[in-house]
């Protein structure tokens, strides 16, 4: 995982937060795990910490998949993902927040791709093609061509691994499948990528 960027102007201001729980240490962003350790539920303090810790990662996830045209929307959609995290705060697993957020981001992105029309949930495909190669702002033409030649599922797995750096249990969590399934899916996807790449090289 990438280290989160430094935020010199983040302060823990108890006056901002409703609720009884206090922040942890003043000079470190309280992680959600730390907040849980203090005995708070997933309250506003927890949410603030979640946003500070993972907001940038969610934003990058969306930036990567929205292409040049969607750069402005990435932040807007990131805010949506975090809003969902608040509404579903009891679902967000302690210690595995980021995979949950990535999974949510995938659904938010898929819905957004339908131009933001409210759609009955049945129309949201189970298989989220969160990386339309035509949209990806990938400068490397061969990489773009290789991605285009892959099945959506292979693409999804590969990008989660190559760009979000997910493996193992975290990758399985985002994909919504078993650990073994995720390992196998990644192995297959990498193998397919090599095949496609070799064909492009030829």
């Amino acid at each position: 995982m990438r280290p989160h960027p430094a935020h010199p102007d983040v302060t823990d201001d108890p006056g901002v937060r409703p609720g009884a729980s206090a922040a942890a240490v003043d000079d470190v962003d309280p992680t959600p795990a730390a907040a849980a350790a203090i005995g708070s539920a997933h309250d506003a303090a927890w949410f603030d910490a979640l946003v500070r810790e993972h907001g940038a990662a969610v934003h990058r996830y969306l930036l990567r998949r929205l292409g040049q045209a969607g750069r402005d929307e990435a932040e807007d959609l990131a805010a949506d993902v975090l809003t969902v995290a608040w509404r579903r705060r009891d679902d967000v697993p302690d210690g595995a927040e980021l995979p949950w957020l990535y999974r949510t981001a995938g659904f938010v992105l898929a819905n957004h791709r339908r131009k933001g029309r409210p759609v009955p949930v049945g129309d949201v495909p189970e298989e989220v093609d969160d990386a339309d190669p035509a949209v990806l702002a990938v400068a490397d033409a061969q990489v773009r061509a290789a991605l285009g030649a892959l099945a959506p599922r292979d693409r999804q797995v590969l990008l989660l691994h190559a760009w979000e750096g997910l493996t193992g249990a975290a990758l399985a969590e985002v994909l919504g499948i078993s650990r073994g399934g995720a390992d196998a899916a990644l192995s297959r996807a990498r193998s397919r990528l090599r095949e496609v790449w070799a064909a492009l090289d030829a």
């Binding site: 809003t83 819905n111 949930v121 189970e126 760009w163 070799a198």
Partner: protein, 476 residues
Amino acid sequence: MTDRTPTGTPGEGAAPRDEAFDRLRAADPSAGATTDLDRLATTARERAGLDAGAATAPDGAPGADGELAEVRVLGAPRRRPARWLQIAAAVAGVAIIGGGGYALGASGDGTTSGTTADAAAPAIALQDSSGQEMAASDSSAGGAAKMATDRAGSWWYGGRTVFTQQGLSSEAGTGTAWGFDAASVVNAETAARLAQVLGVPGEPRSEYGSWVVGSSDGSGANLTVSADALASLSYYDPARDPWASCYASAVDTPTTEDDTAGSTEPAPAECTPSGAAAPAGDAAVAQARDVVADLGLDPDAWEYEAQGDTGTPQASYVTLWQVVDGQRTGVSGNVTFVSDGVQSLYLPLAPLVDLGTYDVVSAVEAVQRLSDPRFGASGGVMPLLKGPVAAEAASAEPVGPESTEPTVPPTPTAGAAIAWPVQQVTLVSSRLGVALTSLPDGSSVLVPSYELADADGSTWSVVAVVDDQLDFSPVG
């Protein structure tokens, strides 16, 4: 070229170089991008309805975008089988295929049916192997689908439905399945013969597996026999398009209307077609039957519906519905007539192949299958709407029937039971027929299926063939 480092060479590292993956990783489009975390945090807090404190005044209203999908999708446990999400998608298909043809036209705006006595039973719709609804090939499908989906309150509950049955039969039975022999007709000879019938000059040529006669750039008549599961025939003659004079005179300006329809018609609003009237009503149906016979197909294998008054007498439309064993199969075609003949035509050509008799489960077992992840539940839509209700539903948003302005949702009470609606459905009638579905190899079949209905007439469908005669091997 890829320079593969031999494995096992000491000092090179254990894994062979994977140039493809390295390049992929390096191609991260977000490299160098920054996130304004303060702004993101403020926005997220506002949308979450949390007190933003010293920042801007909080806007407590929840964003509507994405909420519909988000609320339901995230409520699903992670291991839930894929099918339950597809139920509302299946809803869309049933509205198109079942009942009286055009959803809008069913209520007596002049639609003429080609059959007199017994109209065929409605088609049964199933999902195909990819989970998409098998809709009839009809360009108006999109609009009709949206309408029924919006109106049917049952879709809101997604897959949380418990099915029971009352009074259904527990007797197993048999049903006939049908395949489509597209391979026998997708060839140059068919294209050449049909081109002669429809008057398209030229020799057939192969384009991406399909056979084409005539011009492909819109400058002249075109006939195509497509290499798809139904051996679709499509024909059109731009010169006989009643709006042809409008296109010719229109300046090529980009459309300023919304792009969502995807059409780029350059016809100015004031241009109306002129010319002799096309045959309509019964005359159109009679002509359609003649066209089918001329093409070498059996006119009695189809039901015909001439669309009522379209406001343009120069063109009339007839929809054809394939019928097998007294039931519409879901396969359809259409013909556009102008005063002197056919202007455009779409018709599946593939002859039906009798695949023999299959054992089917009883209706009671079919109900159990609705809760079986291998089969899922297709359907849940109210029967087709008529007249003004349909029009109202078309403009309604799938939020709630009484919603006018968005309002802040109520604050839940601590300790109160969490609302978790589960729909209870009691199925009281069943109909065994066939449903059009596509197989992993791309072919289409009519598979024996049940249509099950509750007392209100909402229908669900499920495949009826017994487990032993289905191949459950996964794909991919």
